[in-house]
Symmetry: C2
Subunit: 342 residues, 2 copies
């Protein structure tokens, strides 16, 4: 006799006990549980009854061992406590849990070693797939990972060789929209605080900015561009530096909202009144953009939609679903009070 049937008091029932109580074999129980094969209606009812009476719940660990699937997907994000990634986590978690998958979240901290550790950890947990918002892993690393047959999905990143696994925002268009908005308001001299130029999204945003200028027949001045690191501090530092260069500018595009926030604080400390003295546009439309004063005009980044799509891709790829997927998402301009006519 199977040991599970003779254990005591606070016992968690197993499929054996259900089978015994229903007077069928455990294969039959397994069949009604998984609903794949067909089962005689009368037997099925007896099984369902037994399941209910015993309050039986399948053991997910045993199930995983038997079919080598954990129904879990690993998620790597830069930080667990940054709202932007929070939206991403929220979207992935709810999408996957709706299909009874759980997600294991880890933080990469914008550090190569930490990201690798996180990935190793997720692999050691036998995740069925990985969804990654990676800042440091190289394309080669990701390609290798993909060749281990562990399905991966990339958010905010395009890797050659992984065309269907990448889900991104059209960052170039975003940069374009930001600058074109200012041009339409009559600004001619537009400064730009960029993200780190080793990050593709930052480069694309800048590229879009330049395209808008060219389209307007304006010769971009490299002196009006500052390279920041996406941090709030660099928004302030960037503004100071740009002003020190002594070129006039009436508007400023920041490659993300944090730098825009830093620039705004800095401008206020300098005694400027906003947006009269300087129009400022951000990027990402993080929640917090509502709260800076003046409320920030910015470019929306539908990261939740993008993340949800990456989850749907995994549902297709690993769990046999057939959602339609879209690789690239469009940004849009959100006009608030931080920009004004020149």
């Amino acid at each position: 006799m199977h040991l599970a049937t003779i254990t005591g008091c606070y016992h968690v029932p197993t499929i054996y006990e259900v089978a015994e109580k229903a007077g069928v074999s455990l294969s039959t129980v397994s069949r009604v549980l998984n609903g794949k094969a067909s089962v005689n209606k009368a037997l099925k009812e007896r099984v369902d009854q037994a399941i209910k009476e015993l309050n039986y719940r399948p053991n997910s660990v045993a199930r995983s061992l038997a079919n080598s699937r954990t129904d879990s997907v690993g998620l790597l994000v830069p930080e667990l406590n940054v709202p932007f990634y929070g939206d991403l986590m929220q979207a992935v978690e709810s999408t996957l849990r709706a299909h009874d998958k759980h997600v294991i979240m880890t933080a990469g901290r914008n550090c190569l070693e930490t990201e690798k550790d996180a990935v190793d950890f997720l692999i050691s947990r036998n995740c069925d797939a990985l969804i990654m918002y990676s800042e440091s892993l190289t394309d080669d690393y990701l390609l290798n990972l993909n060749q281990t047959k562990l399905p991966i999905s990339l958010v905010n990143r395009n890797v050659d060789g992984l065309p269907e696994a990448c889900f991104t925002l059209d960052n170039e268009k975003g940069g374009y929209l930001a600058t074109r908005h200012l041009l339409e308001l009559g600004h001619k001299n537009i400064a730009y605080i960029s993200g780190p130029n080793n990050k593709v999204d930052a480069c694309l945003r800048l590229k879009g900015h330049k395209r808008a200028l060219i389209e307007a027949g304006i010769v971009g001045n490299p002196q009006l561009i500052f390279n920041g690191d996406y941090s709030e501090e660099d928004g302030a530092i960037g503004l100071l530096e740009l002003m020190a260069r002594d070129l006039p500018f009436s508007a400023l595009v920041c490659a993300n909202d944090w730098m825009a926030s830093g620039a705004i604080s800095c401008a206020r400390e300098l005694g400027m009144s906003l947006p009269q003295d300087l129009s400022i546009v951000g990027f990402d439309d993080i929640v917090f953009a509502h709260h800076v004063f003046p409320r920030l005009t910015t470019v929306s980044n539908p990261v939740a939609d993008i993340a949800e799509m990456s989850a749907r891709y995994i549902l297709n790829k690993v769990y046999g679903q057939t959602n339609i997927v879209q690789q690239c998402f469009e940004p849009s301009l959100v006009v608030r009070e931080s920009t004004i006519n020149f």
Copy 2:
């Protein structure tokens, strides 16, 4: 022969293959892996060598099935994309992962059914323990849960009958500190926007406020108290309502930073200049408190520390560690620019 030893190409090695390659039994391999029992040094070296050559990684699912431990702990928070809970998640994740446990995070959405679903889900995943920041589950429910022998740990909640599982902030003291600060600045008429009075933390914060008033010999006027729901909107609504009551007040305590932010926006729209016309104190010191203008004086809530401690408690309780634990944490006043002398 064990099937695992004869499978093909992209095969993941098993403990059997390690044993074979090292010329020992699989028990020996298991022993060196787990490091509990002692193993002959020469054998251990051969095993280590074989592990390296095969690039063997233990299968965590099989391990879990064998020892009925998943090395996972479930985490329930109200929202995955709110910074305050992000700090909590971050603290729990890093504390537990440092000990090779993973955490499965779920959102409760301040909804009883959603919270129950989340808990059921986590249980179905065979978590070794649960850490919960629950807003809706009843004490009885939690008590029952605890009696299933599933260890639980509660953040920001005190349940009678679970003395050692609860990790909280001294909310009463926080409320006291906020109001005493204003009293020390010379304010006599202090309004208060409370959180929902079915939440214990909100009641305690209010209680602390009242104690400070009493201590200062001031008779609190119920008309100066508004009951909000912790949302930003209710901060604005509360301020309007309080002003409509036509009682003078020179200072305002809000039971959290969101309501303080709402009140600030509202005050500005009313044309008040802050903090001259009204001193405002918040509660929690969420990151965002730096960004409201004027920068918010508030009461710090070391939620990351509290969360880390709840994780350490679980490490003790479930995984045999012996961290020292502390149940209750002290808030402290963070003075910025939203308060000024009367």
